[in-house]
């Protein structure tokens, strides 16, 4: 894992001082709220429905156990005892005082953390594959590049006031686990025919109110040119991205307006000027960064373990957990364990201070002191010995982090929605909870198989509803909360945007709507066919027809028609 040197420490320390003074000036009215807003956003501080929310950067989702314990400390000292993992591999605290926020940053700095550029119209935290470095299907470990991009983008003077927020994701595996196609820039680390490492460069993806899948503007860019090419893309965007309308200000709109080819041409023209300049990466720099990501001291182990096999054969609960929550590892005798932060009854992604401390202890004991965050809002212990899995499972189970539902129906991605977020049109957490309660039965979930259910409380799409196999979007109709349903969205190598099935539903109807969608799937599926494949084979029509075929009780009693349309 990356460790700060004196320069990183200094930059973060100076940031804390700068921010502390900005808060002081705001509190003494030297800064108006309007002037303070972009400053606090670039420090991850949002004003929410009830209080300030602080979003802390977790670069490419990697954490040391000291950092995890710091989150527990922040949760206890400055919040109400819990935090929330996000789809951008960060953590948010929902009950923060403005006055205390500089102290939190100072505490974070002691464990090499900060909240720099976790919000605002700048280059945000770069996200990556949660299984980077351990995945069986990895081509190249993307983390050194993610760290290089982190440093380059931190306080980049030219790109701190972009037309809109800007997100970069990077993946180095066969299977894209970083949702690269729906980012402003998506990078695939690839090897060319000569075995040289470079990037496939996608631009102009994004969700929000206009979901667009990114376009490839370069099939292969030698890795040395990563930063100069990024600079060229950002300069074109900074100058030509629309600023008259914030809904049209994302790079995806510019790329769409110009066409990917023309956009790529402008980038190449810009790049011609800086290509091979001093910002060109060197082998020494790549090696310096890469040394932080060398594999931990793995033991030489057999591919199988007797005790492990015995437990697996004897214990159905353990076997289920292995099936869903444990992933293949590239080192023999090890596995990557996903801790489900999706227990029924708990808001997806919410974690308590006690659970954070527990995870830190467990990672110290069983996984080389490292923890990762997934963009599905779960946690990963990346390097657990097969022979330790049973013990780990028992410990994790006791903490409510072992629900064997990874990739299943109740592994719901869900934004904070109307319970916290001031932009929300509708609540999303209670919808997730109602659905999770209705389908709590694990045998049923295993039978349904892999399915992504994503919920956003408004069109901003923080809950990735566009790329959910089933997507739920909170909408406002005449001041009340409704939910629009789409199906057929997917993330990963075959990213697609879901299609809306029809008029929206009330909160009370949602579990039944999901039930009906699943009914169609179960009746129509071919053997071994996943929900998404059935939708793609049949189109949305049969689903739509059945869902709307008969009224669904709304639970509303004031004279409304029981049927929603």
């Amino acid at each position: 894992m990356y460790r700060y040197d004196q320069y990183d420490h200094q930059i973060v320390k100076e940031r804390v001082a700068q921010y502390r003074d900005q808060v002081r000036r705001r509190l003494s009215d030297e800064l108006t709220e309007e002037e303070f807003l972009p400053l606090r956003l670039q420090n991850g501080l949002y004003m929410q429905r009830h209080a300030y929310m602080l979003r802390i950067a977790v670069p490419y989702g990697m954490l040391s156990t000291a950092q995890v314990r710091m989150f527990a400390h922040i949760a206890r000292t400055y919040d109400r005892g819990y935090g929330h993992f996000t789809t951008r591999q960060n953590i948010q605290f929902n009950w923060i005082n403005l006055e205390q926020s500089p102290d939190i940053l100072a505490e974070l700095a002691t464990v090499e953390m900060h909240a720099i550029q976790t919000s605002g119209n700048c280059i945000r935290n770069t996200t990556s594959d949660e299984l980077a470095g351990v995945a069986a299907d990895e081509i190249i470990d993307p983390r050194p590049y993610a760290e290089i991009i982190r440093e380059w983008s931190t306080f980049h003077p030219e790109f701190a006031f972009l037309p809109r927020k800007f997100k970069i994701a990077i993946s180095g595996s066969e299977q894209d686990r970083a949702a690269t196609a729906v980012h402003d820039i998506g990078l695939h680390v690839v090897k060319n025919a000569e075995g040289e490492v470079g990037f496939r460069f996608l631009v102009g993806g994004g969700m929000g109110r206009t979901p667009i899948i990114g376009s490839v503007i370069r099939e292969f860019l030698p890795w040395q040119h990563a930063l100069t090419y990024l600079e060229a893309v950002l300069r074109v965007y900074n100058q030509h991205g629309r600023r008259d309308n914030k809904y049209k200000a994302r790079i995806k709109i510019l790329v769409k307006a110009l066409g990917a080819e023309e956009f790529g041409r402008q980038v190449e023209a810009e790049w011609a000027d800086i290509k091979d300049g001093p910002a060109t990466l060197t082998v020494e720099e790549l090696q310096r960064i890469a040394q932080y990501f060398v594999p931990p001291p793995y033991e030489t182990l057999a591919a199988s373990d007797v005790g492990f096999e015995a437990h697996k054969a004897e214990n159905k609960g353990f076997a289920n957990w292995l099936l869903r929550n444990v992933k293949a590892h590239k080192v023999s005798g090890y596995a990557a364990v996903i801790l489900s932060v999706k227990k029924t009854g708990v808001p997806p992604g919410d974690i308590t201070a006690a659970q954070l401390d527990f995870v830190a202890d467990l990672a110290d004991q069983y996984s080389f002191g490292e923890v990762r965050i997934t963009h599905e809002q779960n946690l990963v212990l990346a390097d657990v010995k097969l022979s330790d899995l049973f013990t780990v499972w028992q410990a994790v189970k006791a903490q409510g982090l072992a629900t064997p539902n990874i990739g299943l129906l109740t592994d719901i991605i869900c934004c904070p929605g109307g319970d916290f977020c001031s932009l929300a049109n509708a609540k999303s957490i209670p919808i997730a909870q109602a659905i999770a309660e209705k389908f709590d039965n694990l045998d049923f979930q295993h039978d349904i198989g892999e399915i992504e259910l994503n919920i956003s409380g408004c069109i901003n799409a923080c809950g990735h509803h566009h790329v959910g196999n089933i997507g739920i979007l909170g909408v406002d109709k005449d001041g009340s909360e409704w939910y629009q349903v789409s199906i057929g969205g997917a993330q990963g190598n075959n990213t697609s945007i879901g299609k809306i099935i029809g008029p929206s539903f009330s909160a009370q109807q949602m579990p039944v709507v999901i039930e009906r969608l699943l009914d169609v799937y179960v009746k129509q599926r071919h053997e071994e066919e996943l929900f998404i494949d059935t939708v793609q084979r049949l189109g949305i029509a049969p689903f739509k027809e059945y869902v709307y075929a008969s009224p669904i009780p709304t639970g509303y009693t004031h004279g409304e028609d029981a049927c929603v349309y």
Partner: protein
């Protein structure tokens, strides 16, 4: 009507300033606006429209609006004693790329001044992309704003002020926290 700012930050100090910035008022056009005497920074549109008269005037400055490209000054740059870039809103970041391109691509080496909604917390970034003068918004304390230039002592990436990225400049090594 010219607006005169009496003090600016230049080369990291507060100094008095005798330039005025010409901004077109309602009803005025680039062709017809009369240019006051003294040291004036005219909008690029006025320079274009009245180039014939302005060419011999010395000293003279020009300012670019945030939707302009640095390239528009390519042919004329040698005429100007000062180039300014306007920030209509401090959150409009186009001026940063304009400045960078003026300095790097067009090799402009004279005074480059930020005008408009110029505030303390942006000055550090502005100087990095090539501004060496700042007409801080009149209602703000310019001596306070001066502190914004020194918020950070280190930077990772290249820009106009720093041609060498940190990774080429120093020998970097993790520091143990133990």
């Amino acid at each position: 009507m010219p607006v005169s700012t009496n003090e600016i930050i230049k080369n990291r100090a507060v100094v008095s300033d005798d330039w005025s910035v010409l901004r077109l008022q309602e009803g005025e056009t680039a062709e017809s606006v009369s240019i006051p005497a003294g040291k004036v920074i005219v909008p690029f549109s006025v320079w274009q429209a009245q180039r014939a008269q302005l060419q011999d005037r010395k000293p003279i400055g020009v300012w670019l609006s945030s939707d302009a490209q640095a390239d528009v000054l390519k042919e004329d740059l040698a005429h100007f004693d000062l180039v300014a870039v306007d920030f209509p809103k401090f959150t409009d970041g186009r001026g940063y790329s304009i400045a960078y391109n003026l300095r790097t691509r067009l090799a402009y080496s004279g005074e480059l001044r930020a005008i408009g909604d110029v505030l303390r917390d942006q000055l550090f970034y502005m100087q990095r992309v090539g501004f060496d003068a700042f007409a801080v918004r009149a209602d703000k304390n310019i001596h306070d704003a001066l502190k914004g230039l020194t918020d950070f002592t280190e930077k990772y990436q290249t820009s106009w002020d720093e041609k060498t990225p940190l990774f080429r400049r120093v020998n970097r090594q993790a520091v143990s926290q133990d």
